[in-house]
Subunit: 343 residues, 2 copies
Amino acid sequence: MARRYVSIKEVAARAGVSFQTASKVLNGGSVRVSPETAARIVAAAKTLGYRPNTIARSLVQRATGTLGLLASDATDVAISQFSVAVEQAARKRGYAVLVGHLGGDADGGQDGADIVRMLIERRVDGVIAAAPQVEDDTEVAELLRTYVPAVSLHHVPGGQVPVIGSTQSETGRLATEHLISHGHRVIGTVTGPFRRRVVRSRLRGYEATLRDAGLEPHEDLMVEADWTPGGGAAAARLLLERVPETTAVFVHNDAMAIGVLSAVVKAGRRVPADVAVVSCDDMPFAEHLTPGLSTVRVPLAETGERAVELLLQSIEGASVSAEPLLLPVELIIRDSCGGPADH
Amino acid sequence: MARRYVSIKEVAARAGVSFQTASKVLNGGSVRVSPETAARIVAAAKTLGYRPNTIARSLVQRATGTLGLLASDATDVAISQFSVAVEQAARKRGYAVLVGHLGGDADGGQDGADIVRMLIERRVDGVIAAAPQVEDDTEVAELLRTYVPAVSLHHVPGGQVPVIGSTQSETGRLATEHLISHGHRVIGTVTGPFRRRVVRSRLRGYEATLRDAGLEPHEDLMVEADWTPGGGAAAARLLLERVPETTAVFVHNDAMAIGVLSAVVKAGRRVPADVAVVSCDDMPFAEHLTPGLSTVRVPLAETGERAVELLLQSIEGASVSAEPLLLPVELIIRDSCGGPADH
DNA sequence: AATTCGTGAGCGAACGTTCGTTCACCTCCG
DNA sequence: CGGAGGTGAACGAACGTTCGCTCACGAATT
């Protein structure tokens, strides 16, 4: 209780020097101070328990060494993987991370702009947006454009904010191609919310691949869900009911895949013998589901790191490409799809 | 590029008032200003795109409105659930959250103190520690004790830091009792790292319950793992190999349970018919595993909220109880344990 | 007509730093 | 022995706010 931080002035007084000199020794760079005084200052700082006040420092330097992270409710494992990667990459480079999580998809990302404003008022040096909900939030876009360097994982209406991500249509293509190569002809898909770009891109990949193989995509085969295991289970039930001939499912994330696997089994079918499943993400648990989940690996941790790098460059004034920086995805074959293709 | 924030002085100049008056209107409380001037100031702020600088505000108010969160690598789903809850609870009360994630358990939590120092230098108003790795880190403990109000989810060596959590021994007891009530006599357990207090508490509950039922706990039945699905799978394999008579397993978290389920099945046994499984946490996916995972629900989101409340009280100077605040746990019965007890 | 009061606004100081400049003193050199 | 040069440290200003006090002015009260 009654804790008080000691300021550099008190340290200086104790060491018998001006506070500016103490500042040079304790925090500043080029020293121009005799070893003895320096030692005296350091000793004083130590016995008083001095901790530099970065708030004051930020004020004069006009930089906080802090990055803001706008994340969608990171109960979503994928997002949380990404956030951790971002924070660790940032800290390695001397930056701290201030987070704001949006509420569920339900409230329409209403508070995205509030969070960004909060970050701006706290004068973060840059913002990383990782929230599909803001894909079409023009208010957020406008704030990011005009106030602070930013990088987004998702499309930003109006542009001018660098985007980083993965080739999502490729994700849909890889999964679908693999299922086709196993001889499947009735391939359903359990997706995230249709209005998300990720979802539409993946669907584009899925549909194009089907057409390339001479199969006509059908509405009944595409079931919208909400990224959660429960949603995935419900969607799978619906799919099998609407199109009982379905022999394969492409699921848009691993969390939903958990639910899909369980729903398929509960419907009395075997995976992969009766229904093959391929998903997206490759979360750490995917390998250990029963059966092992085949999934298109999205390099979330790497994306986080690259996002930080990109943002830091942009903070340092480098002008960054308008073209999205896309990291490659990779199909990881396990058991749920029936193993390696056999053609 | 070349973005510059406009300060309140520029707003004031444009509105033709002193900057202190502008401050009163835009950020301050009690107004004492005529409606017309107020309107003029607000208008000027709007056209200039003024955003208050909380850095400067923090400096004079000696409070940042920011909470620090020291979290263990939140790739762990449970921790990430907790962090999200903390951040949302904090923001609801006007606080932002600055996070620091420790590296894997491997590097011994070496950087825990670094993170806390970083938080302190950024002058967070309080710190929430959610990292088992720091359970016996005296340096972190000392920092928390002397510099900043804090609340921890785990024991803090030397005390004086309020602790919040769940009754962990109860967790072990509930799970074990339920398995015994199903008639199981050879009950193994797949645990987190032995050196963690959570683990030891749960083991205490497990052993005590076995003894109460006249069963002698045996070392071979307790297998240490690392909280991950992969670790859980390996541990389960080892357990079934060492004690093939095992008919039930108590797993220390849902992530490992995923691996345990898969390892049991791969060993040619059925869950729950041959081997019953009960776990801890109740993550959103637990319900949707195959079979549905019975698990002792740990109220992580609620714990996060309570942690924030407790911390805020402590920041406001309330002296808080030395006794850990423990939230109740609850056994959720699904299929992996064989359903409700039938005695 | 003299005094009090309230209202609207200005002003100085402080928060804890960093940064660039100035200053005092000593040594060395011609 | 006088000035140049170098070294160690002090000093003033600024960063963008909040907070408490002062001040001018007009209306209301005596």
